[in-house]
């Protein structure tokens, strides 16, 4: 038994409830973004709980704003923005978990990113993506093109390395004795 098992007490009823709707939505997406969509994984068939849509780097913002505003989709709530280190080429996957406050269902959008490539920022679609993208940059070193304020967020600004990369050592110290200064540019 794995994530494909439907469990009523665990939100696993989503497939029964939204399965038809998801199929229709994915068909629409295939028609609109045909060349730019990669794999489309469907829950129950692949080991995932919500549909996963892979999209090319160039079209990700277009897809996200389409999902956000198009009637029938309305995934207007950016539940989460994160990344994974896949340890193979392309190295990273940036993951957008979306929630629809209208239809109460979810979908997941993924982008494959090689090391050094920049992902277009989602701040224009959701201003709240700002800190999440900063965290991805901090933890994985994935840069976001057009981001208004791409600084480290959890680690110190002098920190070297990106901790959530799989090759980052588990032990070690980086000690900073000088306090962090206030940046007047941030207050303009």
């Amino acid at each position: 038994m794995d994530v494909r098992t439907l469990i009523p007490t665990n939100g696993g009823e989503a497939i029964k409830k939204f399965g038809e709707g998801w199929r229709k939505q994915l068909a629409t997406l295939q028609a609109k973004f045909s060349g730019d969509l990669g794999n489309v994984l469907f829950p129950g068939e692949a080991a995932t709980d919500f549909p996963i849509v892979y999209v090319s780097l160039a079209k990700v913002i277009e897809l996200l704003s389409f999902l956000k505003t198009e009637p029938g989709f309305e995934y207007d709530f950016l539940a989460d923005l994160t990344a994974t280190d896949e340890e193979q080429a392309p190295r990273f996957e940036v993951v957008y978990n979306l929630f629809s406050t209208v239809h109460k269902n979810r979908i997941r959008v993924k982008v494959k990113v090689s090391e050094g490539e920049e992902v277009p920022t989602a701040v224009s679609v959701w201003p709240g993506a700002n800190w999440a993208e900063r965290e991805v940059y901090d933890m994985f070193g994935v840069k976001f093109l057009g981001h208004p304020d791409l600084r480290r967020i959890l680690m110190d600004y002098r920190f070297e390395g990106h901790p959530l990369r799989k090759d980052f050592p588990l032990r070690g110290y980086q000690i900073f004795t000088e306090p962090q200064v206030i940046d007047p540019k941030l207050l303009d």
Binding site: D2, V3, T9, V95, N97, W126, P163, L164
Partner: protein
């Protein structure tokens, strides 16, 4: 000679409608200065830091810093077995650690396709709702303390202590509970648990009514909170606000109703929603949510029956102590379970629960084996804290303290 008082140096109007005239006689009026609030300021609710540029007392611009209590939980999640990670979930939102435990257990159970028995689900619901009540009591209590109403806080804190007595009987700890296990619970609820819970619910109802009478209609409280630092529905969507903060602004989302997990489908409760999204509404939504949570707890305690608390699934079953101590196979299995851990099949799942502050989610990517490939924790506080700067822009610095308390940013799940 021209009177210097007639010289117009202009004025600034802020989105909140406050207008600051630049008066040359007023020392502070036209001078901006920068205040560094936190990270160890008593009003900042943990190690949060905000740098604000003030014009008089008005915040003109600000930015927030986080990361002072960063403990690399996501990295630990990739380097600990699924069982070992349970204790780290306590330290997320430390005001409602039981609910974090439940959310994590659900996430791994979803990946493994495990269903837990009925009694276990009812107990998980009761502890979740107790945790929600505790969290809300602390939030509104501390918010009132920050704005000067100290005695109000003591009413809530007494009931919180009573709840911790129940939790202590349940799992032996007050704050760092680690009560759930993957596929079950650490131990069954003690004899008379339902009776105690119901007595606590009845007492808390009366105390809450008393608290409500004490503060909600209070003139000073209303002047400090009504219409102050609003965050409207549109902004809530932009900044991914969830939970009581979103519902205070009229964004009607509650995962207990929208994506029922556990047995929330089988109990009756209302979802309180306000419209203005100001500090007062965030307070009011929490007061009403406590009432609803108390109703849920009473219903669960009524419907709970005796029965097993562990899943039938042998992969996750922790061997009984008499088997461990009396048979060799049991001892070997015990060591294998705790040292090596159990395998979770490959797959990925994003499991969200309605935690006391909003959507708490564990996004786990498994590639097989006893450790996760990626353990992402989506804490609601990160997104709430991000909205603080736009929220308080143009408001007084004293309103910032009220806003921060009402949004209830918890440093533990902010920094992870």
């Amino acid at each position: 000679m021209q009177n210097i008082k007639d010289t117009k140096l202009g004025s600034t109007e802020f989105p909140s409608g406050i207008r600051v005239d630049h008066d040359p006689d007023d020392l502070w009026g036209d001078s901006r200065f920068v205040v560094n609030i936190g990270p160890t300021h008593p009003a900042m609710h943990g190690a949060l830091r905000m740098v604000a540029k003030l014009n008089g007392e008005t915040i003109e611009s600000s930015y927030c810093e986080m990361g002072y209590t960063h403990r690399a939980k996501e990295k630990l999640g990739e380097n600990r077995t699924y069982h070992q990670f349970i204790v780290y979930t306590d330290r997320l939102n430390y005001c409602s650690s039981l609910m974090n435990n439940v959310g994590y257990a659900l996430a791994v159970e979803k990946l493994m396709g495990i269903e837990v028995p009925e009694r276990c689900v009812w107990i998980r619901m009761i502890v979740s709702e107790i945790a929600r009540v505790i969290d809300h009591l602390v939030c509104i209590g501390i918010n009132a303390v920050d704005l000067g109403a100290f005695s109000y806080f003591l009413y809530g804190y007494h009931q919180r202590e009573e709840a911790y007595t129940i939790i202590e009987k349940l799992c032996g700890a007050r704050l760092t509970t680690s009560y759930t296990r993957i596929g079950g619970l650490m131990q069954d609820a003690p004899e008379g648990f339902e009776r105690e819970v119901k007595a606590w619910v009845a007492k808390t109802r009366t105390v809450l009514d008393e608290m409500d009478r004490l503060l909600t209609g209070n003139k000073i409280w209303q002047m400090r909170t009504v219409g102050v630092t609003p965050f409207n529905k549109e902004q809530c969507l932009q900044y991914s606000y969830s939970g009581p903060n979103a519902r205070a602004a009229g964004l009607d989302i509650d995962l207990r109703r929208d994506q029922p997990y556990l047995y929330y489908k089988n109990v009756e409760f209302d979802v309180p929603v306000c419209q203005n999204g100001d500090t007062f509404d965030r307070y009011l939504v929490r007061v009403h949510e406590i009432r609803q949570s108390l109703n849920i707890i009473a219903q669960c305690a009524d419907r709970m029956k005796k029965g097993p608390i562990w899943s039938e699934d042998k992969r996750v079953r922790i061997p009984d102590k008499d088997v461990v101590h009396n048979t060799m196979e049991g001892l070997i299995y015990h060591f294998k379970f705790f040292m090596t851990g159990f395998d979770v099949p490959a797959g990925e799942a994003y499991t969200a629960i309605e935690a006391s502050n909003g959507e708490l989610a564990f996004y786990i990517v498994s590639k097989g084996g006893p450790k996760a490939h990626r353990m992402r924790i989506r804490g609601p506080s990160v997104w709430h804290y991000q909205g603080i700067s736009p929220m308080v822009k143009g408001w007084k610095i004293a309103d910032l303290i009220g806003a921060l308390g009402s949004v209830n940013v918890i440093a533990g799940e902010l920094d992870r």
